[in-house]
Subunit: 190 residues, 2 copies
């Protein structure tokens, strides 16, 4: 998606430890017009697939999932990251190791919001090693739901998670794949 790559080139900032910061438009401040274009592109890429629900994980996946869901006319359900008084009994859980935050957390999703009748589109802002996506796939498997596809805004291709998911047979589409970001220079996969 050329518009997105241009925006990453213009406003993305490469930080130590292969961290790409896109927080001026994607995951802290949010450019709603850009996210609408992203939603339109996901609709185009997954058009023709039967999708009943968009699944993501808090927090930065929520904006992408909600704006994209408008093009699919389906509800969003987002996995939560922490134990709180507001989550009760019947939940699916999966443990995820976060590359960005350097810790482990449990993703939780209430069982009544994902069932074997669901055809799921998993959406997220980043894919690096693929740990968060594996967590959502694990939860979908527990629910007996069918995974129709995985849509990612920015894939760090050089971390390998995306290619592993493709090799496992998932229909994974990333709007921008970064193959290297050495010395602060971004190289996108064509």
């Amino acid at each position: 998606m050329e518009l997105l790559k241009e925006r990453i080139r213009m406003d993305g900032r490469v930080k130590e430890g292969n961290i790409l910061k896109v927080d001026s438009f994607l995951n802290h401040q949010i450019d709603i017009s850009l996210l609408n274009e992203i939603g339109r592109e996901f609709k185009h890429l997954f058009d023709g697939k039967k999708i009943t629900k968009i699944v993501t994980i808090e927090a930065s996946g929520i904006a992408i999932a909600c704006l994209t869901a408008q093009y699919f006319n389906v509800p969003v359900v987002f996995a939560k990251k922490a134990v709180s008084k507001n989550i009760d009994g019947d939940v699916y859980t999966s443990t995820i190791k976060s590359y960005t935050h350097g810790n482990e957390y449990t993703a939780m999703l209430e069982k009544r919001f994902l069932t074997q009748n669901d055809q799921v589109l998993i959406l997220d802002d980043f894919l690096a090693t693929g740990k968060a996506q594996l967590g959502l796939l694990d939860i979908s498997r527990q629910a007996g739901a069918t995974v129709a596809g995985i849509g990612i805004v920015i894939e760090k291709g050089f971390q390998g998670g995306g290619d592993k998911l493709r090799a496992a047979g998932y229909d994974l589409r990333s709007l921008a794949i970064i193959d290297s970001m050495e010395n602060g220079t971004l190289c996108f996969r064509e």
Copy 2:
């Protein structure tokens, strides 16, 4: 907002400790059509006000803020709740005590995303004692931004936070105000 009250009556569940769960349509699973109507209503309520940015706090405020922002044509910026490698240097912070989660956390917002030139609409899903909103007001004050208004989807009127904010002069609009929820029966303020 009658549509919202009807939905709360139909799908809301009252739990021990005056907790109202609306996670089948507002803050776990998200009904995108309803949130679009909510966005339209906020636009109607705050119409004519100059607004340059919508400010909220992760996680459940993000969906409401993003869908509403489409009607105002402005960016969203959401305060983050935890320290992560992805937040760097120049941030505003405010400490917030959570009623729902029974803990304290720090809300953080990067300084470059909120300035004295901003006219802010603060949006959130719930207002109870008003602690989260006070945190966002504190951050807006630190930024020198003007608070044009506060929009809340569900206000727990009986917890008093909303009336305190109104008494302090804020233009606070709540789409549904619950005056009591004793014995599981919801009473809305007319």
